[in-house]
């Protein structure tokens, strides 16, 4: 499994959460599975999950699960108190954010104007029911994957994600070394 336990939380790729079952604690029923992770780049937090039914023959997507309705994001499942955690998709509380953009595939450019590649994944630190965006995985043109720390402010537009130079230079080659670099900056 591609996740690493660190002191505070668990460092994992957002893509690892896709397909994870969403299970209701009151009935031990699988109510949906994770289709995608919605993150807010301004607050650097995951704010919820889009959902799909179980398996390939499932019906239409059963809505959006806001993170505040999540009991825990585990290694193998996302736990909710009950099926009611998944709001009606038309309900304001469970509405998906309008300005949501797809981060994956967006070009990452350094402040000094060099293209670093395209965003291939988002790195999350999961602690109980919360998930902070701590990094971005970037696929460089040469095919190498690197992980950069999520900057304090990461200007993002439909065109690009802008990354400060010192962060681009400190890119890590994998989750393990990324975790090491996180710990160094925290201490």
């Amino acid at each position: 499994m591609n996740s690493i336990d660190s002191g505070g939380g668990r460092i994992t790729r957002a893509s690892e959460l896709i397909g994870r079952p969403i299970i209701a604690l009151d009935s031990a029923t699988q109510v949906a599975e994770v289709k995608d992770v919605v993150v807010d780049t301004q607050s650097a937090q995951a704010i919820g999950f889009t959902l799909r039914g179980r398996g390939l023959l499932a019906g239409p997507a059963p809505g959006f699960l806001p993170l505040e309705a999540v009991h825990a994001i585990g290694r193998d499942a996302v736990m909710v108190a009950s099926r009611d955690a998944i709001g009606d998709p038309d309900d304001a509380r469970s509405a998906r954010p309008a300005e949501e953009e797809d981060l994956i595939g967006k070009e990452a450019v350094s402040v000094t104007g060099s293209s670093l590649g395209t965003v291939s994944d988002v790195i999350l630190e999961i602690d109980g029911p919360s998930a902070a965006v701590v990094g971005y995985e970037i696929a460089a043109q040469n095919g190498n994957l690197v992980i950069v720390r999520a900057p304090e402010s990461a200007p993002l537009s439909p065109d690009a994600l802008v990354v400060p130079d010192e962060i681009a230079l400190g890119a890590a080659s994998g989750l393990a070394s990324f975790r090491g670099s996180l710990e160094r900056t925290q201490s």
Binding site: L25, S27, A28, Q30, A72, G74, D76
Partner: protein, 154 residues
């Protein structure tokens, strides 16, 4: 102490008239009590398919004995629905902690044969002491407890 695998498939005989009333198809767990509440019997006449666990007189190597056929009961509507939805088809279900970590696939359940209290859950390579069931449902068994550090099987 006995196990789900030892009870399942056992025939049920009456002490009063030596009648075979059926065979144990599955065990009905009461998640709140953390105990086996009843045995669900197949092959009985009519709808009286529930044998409340406290009515089991003895568990032998070859049969489960009950005093008489009158001790079997009809399941209520809710229980019948849960049986049909697969809540009590326990083997093969994934055991999760309430934190969303999988502890493995349920293979067997160890319980006290008198009280019905569930003692341990068997998953591949481990016998997990049960603290508390959160829920037993159609898709999963959810528990609290020592999940993060499962004890090896004896």
């Amino acid at each position: 102490m006995t196990r789900l695998s030892q009870i399942k498939g056992q025939r049920v005989l009456t002490v009063d008239d030596a009648q075979q009333v059926g065979g144990v198809r599955r065990l009905i767990l009461d998640a709140e009590l953390g105990a086996v509440a009843a045995a669900h019997i197949e092959g009985t006449v009519g709808e009286t398919t529930m044998l409340p666990w406290e009515k089991v007189k003895s568990i032998g190597p070859d049969a489960l004995m009950v005093e008489s056929v009158r001790q079997l009961e009809e399941p209520d509507r809710g229980l019948r629905d849960r049986i049909e939805a697969g809540h009590y088809d326990l083997e093969g279900k994934i055991v999760y902690t309430d934190q969303g970590d999988s502890l493995g696939t349920l293979e067997d359940i160890e319980f006290d044969e008198r009280s019905g209290r569930v003692l341990r859950l068997h998953v591949p390579g481990h016998a997990l002491p049960l603290q508390r069931f959160v829920a037993v449902g159609p898709d999963a068994v959810i528990v609290t407890g020592p999940g993060s550090a499962p004890l090896p099987a004896p």
